[in-house]
Amino acid sequence: MNFFDYHHFPVYSIMVLFLGAFLIVLMGKNKTVRNIIAFAAMACSVACMLALFKPVMLEGEIISYWMGNRSIAGGYAIGIALEVDALGLFFGLLISSVVFVAGLYSFQYMSHDDNQQQYYTLFLMLAGGVMGLVLSGDIFNMFIMIEILTFAAVALTAFRNQVYGALEAAFKYLVVGSIGSTCILVGITILYAQAHTLNFAQLSLLIPGNLNNATKLAFALLYIGFSTKAFLVPFHPLAADAHGAAPASVSVLISGVLTKSGIYGIIRLTYFLFQTMGLGSMQFMLVFVGCVSMFVCVTMALAQHDFKRLLAFHSISQIGYVLTAVGLCTALGISSGLYHAMNHTLFKGLLFLAAGAVLHETGTTDLGKLGGLSKKMPQTTILFLIGAFSISGVPPFNGFASKWMIYQATYQKAVESGNIGFLLVTVICLVTSILTLASFVKVSQSVFFGQLPKEYENVKEVGLGMRFAMGLLALACIVSGLFPELVTTYITEPAAAAVFNVGNYISAMGFDGSAVAAGTVSFESVGVWTPVSWLLVLCIALLAITIVALAGKYDRVSAHEGGETVDTKYQLFYGGEENVFSQVGGDDLFWGFKHNWKGYFNFMHDMHSGIVNDYALWAVVALALAIVFTQIVL
């Protein structure tokens, strides 16, 4: 038996992470030993994934691996399988490399904390859980991995339990996360009762032709379960709480890795397991949830006062883009969605690490207290700005390339299907992008520019280890933005092609998947470059904004004369010379916008009440809606 055959690499890349976690428990007392073990585990995992790049991505092989060599008996899968196609490898590569960068960063970032042995154990468990989820070919194994990653994420959220709200965030995450995991388990049980197998490929063969009320119920349960893992609306408050409290290196994992595992689950569920994405109603469901996530979270982000909490809401907003693109069910849509998922991991990781650097040096992430740090931390500022430009979709950076592809994909879908609703989706994507830019103007104004408060006179630049990790991600942001063709040709298009070749996925496992028709895969975009059509979209957007402005009681006079006392802090906008040099607080930059929309903002503020019962109620309502919707349309 050849141990260096690449067919063993998937299981190695999961195993080394868990092995590292256990070794750190056993002999991680010494700092050097602990760091070496963690580094070796993460490096091995990345190396195994990179070695699979050539056979899986370029040559299109699908690796199937039976644990303990127990495969198929009597037409039924009896062993636990790993199956790696281009889609799984795409997520595996992304996850292992981000884990690697976050690990490098935490060597220095966590060096002042207690209990680092437990930190690295949980960190590697979380990484191993996500790797196991994306490479697994067995649905129950996927559930186990989801539980491992949920527990590790909850424990890491509360790791700095003296931080304001950390315990509370962890408890809320645990309660709603457990409801989500339970939904997945019940869904798996129902599928097992119907098909008597747990193998993913065999389920994909048996389920789609035999939809009944029970499997429809299972679909709804699995969908809700995976959307708790991706923190889609209405589960976004958990993400915001968890990110704000967790250490920055863990925020990177929660935003860059955990949300991707949820998206991965939804792709596997809709395109592979049930193959229902051909239905217009299913496309509507995903695109609708994506658009709502996108818009609600970006407006919530505008109203935040905490650096990391703001970034958390943006994270879910970007996940909304990914889900919208995936829900289009076109090759271009999936390719652009995966591209954006990759870019989101890179730039959001960079932004969280920059926020962590600010926290590490100043001890706070409150936007109201910070300011002027660009004088003290110039390199962090530049790295942050690269991340901010990327997420806002400013041209040379990667966010522009993927967002542009998403606009194209939605527009193309509108042209192909003749459905005017998809044009509205394009407009929502554009508006969200503008609001993202606006809130990053606010962040850079409140944190890095403006006046430096007295107490931060002695702030220094962060250490080389943290800057190196941020630099890696910034470089990746620029490179993937400058060469979008390379990324799409070699990484996202094979993965998108794999999504449309479910038959191959089933056949690779040893079942007869030839009956499942492969979809036509074309990455051509139609008529998207014609300027006239974009002018039309612009006109629609302007019209929409005018309508909103008119409907939003656009009334300048009443703000001052309607009995309200005008706050003196706004006087620098019209107060003449004496106020010119006073610091503009980040919260005040868009006060006019917020004032006009105060009904909406107050409503959203009251909705996110912070009471765990409310969030659990949202989960139950979402579950009920999903069950009713799937029973009607599937």
Binding site: V154, I179, T189, V612
Partner: protein
């Protein structure tokens, strides 16, 4: 009998969800999570149950096509599920203790520093 198992398991799941949504005490939230877990365990066992089947334990050569036994896979799944349920309880109770130490209350309506 089997139908009754299914009804009971979904009733337990619904009861647990009701408990989590309506009760404002952290301990009761944890109890709600446990009740959901019991419901799920009962559901998994009910899926694998064959009326009149024997235990699925055979020595090599004893198993023949006429053997009638309950499905062993759901039983294995239930064991895993029980372990996970125990983890949920342990972890949430640990968090409840820490929350009580720092907030001085178990009322969820007062544990809401993070909001908006």
């Amino acid at each position: 009998m089997i139908t009754f198992n299914y009804i009971a398991s979904f009733f337990l799941i619904a009861l647990g969800l009701y408990c989590i949504v309506t009760k404002y005490n952290l301990m009761k939230t944890v109890i709600g999570l446990n009740i959901i877990d019991y419901g799920v365990n009962l559901l998994i066992i009910a899926v694998g149950y064959n009326h009149g089947g024997t235990a699925p334990i055979f020595t090599p050569g004893e198993l023949n096509p006429g053997s009638f036994f309950v499905d062993p896979i759901p039983q294995a799944l239930t064991l895993t599920s029980i372990v996970i349920g125990a983890c949920v309880s342990a972890m949430s109770l640990a968090l409840v203790i820490k929350l009580y130490e720092s907030y001085g209350t178990l009322d969820t309506r007062q544990i809401r520093r993070l909001r908006g």
